[in-house]
C-alpha cells in the first residue's frame, strides 16, 4: 500500500498537470508545469534513483521550464490570456481521457503487475555510469550530436532575417 509521501506527491503531480492545461494564464500554466516536473523528480527519489531525479530537476525544472516561460513572454499579451477551445470538443476530450484512464487502468489492475514487489537493493548509480561508458557509448555519442544539432537548429530557426546586423548591434 502506498504511503503518505507518495499520496501527497501524486496529488501535487496530477493536480498541477491539470492546472498547467486549464489555468487561464499561460504564465501560471508554465509554473504549474514546473510543479508537475518537480513532482516526477520526487517520484524518482521515492524509487531510489537520486541520479535521475537530479537530472530531471536540472534539465526539466531548471532549463525546459525556464525556456517555456521565456517563450510565453515573447507572445503578445492578449494571446497569453485568451482561451481557444470549443465546448463540444472539450467534453469529447474529457470523455476520451476518462475512457483511456478506466480502460488502461482496469487492464493494468487485472494483469500480474499487482503482485510485483521487491526486497532487492536499488541499482547503484555507479552501474549507470558504467553502462553509459561501455554498452551504451554509441548511443551516448549520438545523443550528444542530436542535442548539439537540435540546439543549433533552434537558434537558426528563431533567427530573424528581417533585422540587419547594424540593427542587431544596438
Amino acid at each position: 500500500m502506498a504511503d503518505a509521501v507518495f499520496l501527497a506527491l501524486s496529488v501535487i503531480t496530477i493536480g498541477s498537470a491539470i492546472a498547467a492545461l486549464e489555468l487561464r494564464s499561460l504564465i501560471y500554466g508554465s509554473i504549474a508545469l514546473m510543479g508537475t516536473l518537480g513532482g516526477i523528480a520526487g517520484f524518482f527519489l521515492l524509487l531510489d534513483s537520486p541520479f535521475v531525479a537530479m537530472f530531471q530537476i536540472a534539465v526539466y525544472v531548471g532549463s525546459i521550464a525556464v525556456l517555456i516561460l521565456f517563450t510565453v513572454m515573447l507572445v503578445k499579451r492578449e494571446l497569453i490570456f485568451k482561451k481557444i477551445e470549443d465546448k463540444r470538443r472539450k467534453f469529447a476530450g474529457i470523455g476520451l481521457m476518462l475512457v483511456l484512464m478506466v480502460g488502461l487502468g482496469s487492464v493494468i489492475l487485472d494483469s500480474g503487475i499487482k503482485s510485483i514487489t521487491t526486497d532487492e537493493p536499488a541499482v547503484d548509480f555507479r552501474d549507470i555510469g558504467a553502462d553509459f561508458l561501455t554498452y551504451y557509448w554509441p548511443a551516448l555519442i549520438l545523443m550528444a550530436l542530436i542535442l548539439a544539432g537540435s540546439v543549433t537548429g533552434a537558434l537558426v530557426l528563431a533567427r530573424r532575417e528581417d533585422v540587419g546586423n547594424e540593427q542587431r548591434a544596438n
Partner: protein, 101 residues
C-alpha cells in the same frame, strides 16, 4: 519499500490520460507542448519504476536518454512556435494554414 509498482504505473496512466486530453482539446500551440511534456514524463516514470522493481539499471539509463532527447525536442518545438508566431501573429494551431496539405 512500502510503495508497490502498481501505484507508480497508475499515476503514470493518469498523467497519460491528462496529456492526451490536452493534446486533443487545446488549440494553443504552447499548451500542446505542455501536454507532450506531461506524456513524456509519464513514460519516464514508468521506465524508472520498472527498472527499480526488476531491478535493472537499464530503466534509469533509458530514462536519462529520454530526458535528454525531450530537452532537444522542446528546444526545436519552441523555436518552431516562435517562427509560426512571427508569421501569423497567433499561436492558435487552426491558423497555421500553410502547413495544410
Amino acid at each position: 519499500m512500502s510503495n508497490e509498482l502498481i501505484d507508480f504505473v497508475l499515476v503514470s496512466v493518469a498523467l497519460l490520460g491528462i496529456g492526451i486530453y490536452g493534446l486533443s482539446v487545446k488549440r494553443n500551440a504552447i499548451r500542446m507542448l505542455f501536454a507532450v511534456e506531461i506524456i513524456i514524463n509519464a513514460a519516464n516514470l514508468n521506465m524508472v519504476a520498472f527498472g527499480r522493481f526488476l531491478p535493472h539499471s537499464g530503466g534509469q539509463t533509458l530514462a536519462l536518454f529520454s530526458i535528454a532527447i525531450a530537452a532537444a525536442e522542446v528546444a526545436v518545438g519552441l523555436s518552431l512556435i516562435i517562427v509560426a508566431y512571427r508569421m501569423y501573429q497567433n499561436i492558435d494551431i487552426a491558423d497555421f494554414r500553410s502547413l495544410k496539405g
